[in-house]
Symmetry: C2
Subunit: 463 residues, 2 copies
């Protein structure tokens, strides 16, 4: 936990920011069952609960009374039976004390507390529940059908406003996660050689995280088919002549994430085509990075990255025509189907549970939810000093998309389908780092992890 004042101050700021009266309701997470009730996945506290209360214990809830400006945590102390089976641990009372909460009540009291509030028609603000157990709980506590939840926009907006600006101690956490993740990536590069299995590398880099007492921030993507964007299949054998894409990061024990991607040859050196395509992505990465600054709209950084990709692909011969026109017509989405990046913090996609529209966009400029490509851009709004985000351009060859669009003759003026068909099985390339936005530009977070062709080849030659 951070120190007590951190949590007291965060809650006070929230009370000041919420443009409403009533009660803010927070649910912690539980230990989720795998294949029966008592065999559970590792416990991960809800990020908003962590941010305002800092307590890592299953089955907690909390309220902040906006009118009386007070916080209550609801949860149970261990019974003697539980102490026998699980060992004496710090009491909930002590944990709450460290969070500056002095009013701690049994979990069962939450129901009566909320029933009283409902009976006098006090507004009860809550966030969109994502775990089914909390959906059930919310439904029971507030007498709302499961399909009828109405999360509080006032609460969401106030929380986003606060959580999106990272404190220096949060930046330290993220950089500490990045130190470990950098080691994960160097080990993967070292292990990438013909004959290795994807899952062996997945397991080895997860061990790097675990040996630093870190969990993964998200399931690792370690794949020879980098064209598949969310590829958790890991049974392939690495073959000479192919690239390996590694998108993986860990989170600290306090929950702060890191999110890095590198792509490199299974062999010690890039082929000529791999090198050329890799450098297009690297140029896009560097070009996007140079745009980062408070006041700039991230959507424009995304478009800049797309244009550099398109120009590179035109020069390489996979695209044709004018790069700006190609991007304006979305033709680049044949190769770059997703967004340039997203916020990062206590979640790898920070606050995604609160709704992308509130985190990455504004009411004035809402998210485009229809147009292929841009609809997958999680962050479009103006950047502020204190934002932490990822930059992750890529080139992806997706056989199904190539076949479908070629059959439709889609973007024929911008795409060289004849040449493209030779790259159907190429895979994909992504380069990703994490940045802190400031008024002058940005700070690259974490250690510099090698990424040029020369750096990677020099490194790989050592093994």
């Amino acid at each position: 936990m951070f120190n007590k004042d951190t949590y007291i101050k965060r809650r006070q700021n929230l009370v000041n920011n919420v443009q409403s009266k009533g009660i803010l309701l927070f649910f912690g997470n539980i230990e989720n069952p795998v294949n029966f009730e008592d065999n559970t996945y590792h416990f991960r506290q809800d990020s908003t609960f962590l941010y305002y209360f800092g307590i890592q214990q299953p089955k907690l809830a909390a309220i902040i009374d906006l009118d009386e400006n007070k916080s209550i945590v609801f949860g149970n102390e261990m019974s003697i039976d539980e102490i026998v089976w699980m060992g004496r641990q710090e009491t909930l009372k002590d944990k709450c004390e460290k969070s500056g909460v002095l009013d701690v009540r049994p979990y069962a009291d939450l129901a009566t507390y909320l029933a009283t509030a409902l009976s006098v028609k006090r507004p009860i603000h809550y966030l969109p529940p994502y775990q089914s157990v909390n959906k059930i709980l919310l439904s029971e506590l507030l007498q709302i059908s499961l399909g009828d939840f109405k999360a509080s926009v006032a609460m969401i907006q106030a929380i986003v406003k606060q959580r999106e600006i990272k404190e220096s101690q949060e930046i330290e956490q993220i950089e500490s996660a990045l130190k470990v993740s950098t080691q994960m990536h160097l080990l993967a590069m070292q292990m990438a050689r013909p004959g290795a299995k994807e899952y062996e590398i997945v397991s080895a880099i997860e061990h790097v995280a675990g040996s630093h007492n870190c969990e993964l921030a998200y399931p690792s993507i370690v794949t020879v088919n980098g064209g598949i964007l969310h590829n958790h299949y890991k049974m392939n054998t690495l073959e000479s002549g192919r690239l390996l894409l590694n998108d993986s990061g860990c989170e600290t024990s306090m929950g702060y994430a890191s999110d890095l991607t590198r792509t490199y040859p299974v062999d010690k050196t890039f082929t000529s085509e791999q090198r050329d395509l890799y450098n297009i992505v690297l140029n896009s990465f560097e070009g996007a990075k140079a745009e980062l600054k408070a006041g700039v709209k991230y959507k424009n950084v995304h478009l800049k990255a797309c244009e550099i990709l398109a120009q590179g692909l035109i020069d390489f011969g996979l695209m044709k025509g004018n790069a700006q026109d190609a991007v304006a017509n979305h033709a680049h989405t044949m190769f770059f189907q997703c967004g340039l990046g997203h916020m990062m913090g206590l979640d790898v996609h920070d606050m995604e549970d609160l709704g992308e529209q509130y985190v990455g966009y504004t009411a004035e400029e809402p998210k485009d939810t229809k147009q292929f490509g841009i609809k997958s851009l999680r962050l479009g709004k103006e950047l502020k000093a204190g934002h932490v985000l990822t930059v992750e351009p890529g080139i992806y060859f997706i056989p199904e998309l190539i076949e479908m669009w070629q059959a439709e003759n889609k973007y024929a003026e911008f795409i060289n389908y004849e040449k493209l068909n030779k790259f159907k099985d190429f895979g994909g390339i992504r380069i990703e780092d994490n940045f802190l936005i400031n008024n002058d530009g940005y700070k690259h977070l974490g250690p510099e992890l090698i990424k040029t062709v020369t750096e990677i080849e020099d490194y790989k030659r050592q093994f």
Copy 2:
């Protein structure tokens, strides 16, 4: 997957065994969210679904129509959007074909199918749901309040009768999990030295599992406080003079578990007291093992193990009086608070989601749910050839229990509290292996993992 005939035959046997008419309803599991909807824990299919259908894919359901003797799987094929993001995979239709199911329908059709069945009052049998998402689904599909589920005893009993007798191909899976788990344990023994952190060992042995493409069968317990039975805290530093307890096992990619425990010194050798107490547990283990045989009640094997423990503790001076009397009076539960073992298969506590009463006991001799000690024995009934189970006696020193019972003067005629107080911080010892029951006795499953004092000391001296 096993071959098609396996699943066809299993379903046919189930149809023959269920003493009822109507429809059997099976839910698969989903990918459970960690901290937001799209960031998920690793997918683990429901074990009963795996057993009868073998298909490892989230968001499936299935029915077996008992009256028409036919099976239907409900689930969706990937959309083109999903293929773009997640890659082309084997179609659901193909997977179902491998399971011998030719009737595959869209997931949404399950609702209409069940509504029709309800409208003509056909009995719909279902199992107790353990994942909240399936509780919600069941409630919506069958119009039952969340608190009012009535799982089908006929369905549970028929499934238990079938799943508790392991096929030879299932034994092979379990032995294959045990091969990997044995390596996990040898590595942990090697790493156990003063200065090491518990979490470093946890992570290293999980890497052994991962590098064989195995998941853990349950969260590893690797602790210097072995007296704490379910101890997932892993931040302690190993100190000279203490024991380390490692209870960990993996499951194969098909879902079959292994469950091993070893306890050994952080140093290369046991102290004299550690050796004496260790040998009491080992005697109990060997004594219990010798009792294993079809036709024997496991409750009696448990009591035999308790008596050996009690006699050893009397000889050692921590208990006094007569061992049989001590066990009859439950005085041994000061040291052995739990049960001797449990069924194992597709779940580490096999079929625990179906209810311990149905898996481990009979209507004639139900579980004692009140008496401290025996109430934690998951398996009490008569053993049959084909049962796979764990044997895991232990001695646990639990400071809170010692203090509480001493204050009550509980079991004073059997417990030497004066001496016991010197052992408050000793920790705990457990030895656990897995066995297949047969008509002549048992088969020890998996490689023999070293467990005598001499074997362990000889092994540890190598590092």
